[in-house]
Symmetry: none
Subunit: 250 residues, 2 copies
Amino acid sequence: MQNETKSDSPALILVRPQMGENIGASARAMANFNLMDLSLVAPRDGWPSESAKANAVGALDLINPVEVFNTTKDALKSYTTVYATTARPRDMRKKTFDMRATVKDITTRHQNGEKCAILFGGERAGLSNDDVSLAHHIITIPTNPDFSSINLGQSVLLFAYEWFQATHEGAPPTLPQNSAPPASHEIWDELMQRLESELKTHNFFRTPDMQPTMMRNIRNLFSRAQMSEQETKTMHGIISALIGKKINSQ
Amino acid sequence: MQNETKSDSPALILVRPQMGENIGASARAMANFNLMDLSLVAPRDGWPSESAKANAVGALDLINPVEVFNTTKDALKSYTTVYATTARPRDMRKKTFDMRATVKDITTRHQNGEKCAILFGGERAGLSNDDVSLAHHIITIPTNPDFSSINLGQSVLLFAYEWFQATHEGAPPTLPQNSAPPASHEIWDELMQRLESELKTHNFFRTPDMQPTMMRNIRNLFSRAQMSEQETKTMHGIISALIGKKINSQ
């Protein structure tokens, strides 16, 4: 059963987690509910962690080896669709799912050969706006508005639980998707970096301190579009054309 | 909302809980998901508990005062239907529900004026067979059979989550969205026309007959992003910058 699930299950990425307890609890919830891939971005206390191991009560031996990255961007390289969990409103235009709808969306995407990842923020402040801007969609858990904070391990548990419920129920509804292969995060990110560099060259950013905010807005716009690989090529062609460079490929 | 939920929500009864952490986490999950009534049977470390209070991060002030009993029987006195949570098979003939089905069952019973309670066992050994024998039904959470143990606080969280999902169904997740006014089609179309004209000037379209198809693809990409009006201005700024024009507004 684990082999079958392995390739089909989304990756869970904990961004700047602080307490080993929560990493351990996350691994435990994943083993409970057949999720295999856990990544950490800049865990505060490093990795491996004794307290994570203690709290995982054996779960770390059941899931795939935990991968550790320095930045969220690095952790996302091979994924085509990324979801960011947040309880706080963000000033961004993105589609918002609850956990159950997220699982349905992921299942459909996996049937079309996509690879999905979910970002969970650290205990202190959750995901940064920069992290969220890298995601295509937002996940939020409906709660009592007067008491809405859910801790890291618990958010992971609720996702894992919904994952298992859905994948062990009747097959979820499937809609045929556009068959153009979606761009990996790496390919998309190259486009964003090139755009940023050309914009800088062409004095788009009036002052250097406006650059991060403006680039976040631009990344938001282009992540929302969920570009196909072909569309990133088209955008490269557009940039090349506009800056007056000879075009080799579109 | 709390008054309304008060009489309608089932009671959660923790039987011989050991760690204040788990009592606190339970209270927290209940406050997250609008459950009001928590009872304890023979808590190992007595009540009140400092560690429960610390882990509840304020939740104990939001739910009804915790009731404490010496025996499970005493705690159950006023309820008509009782569910016992267990991960272990018991040699008993009782109807078994998962969390989702339990919530449905409770909702129906409450409409008929019943009062329902759910028993959760302590950390070390779960509910005793004597405890389970007092319940009408069994609740079990479907899990990976090779790793099925779920801790007390997590079981309570999953029940509370399903409770809120069921009682707030239909309501889409509500995170306030970016309120940036979306671009009207006219404004968006002006952007597309300008982009097309600049691309033509810059020889983006290798042959004239490729132009309609390529522009359709480009329009697809930018329509999928559902741009705000501000974002169309940003894109105008990007085009101006890339073609080396002085930028007036972004």
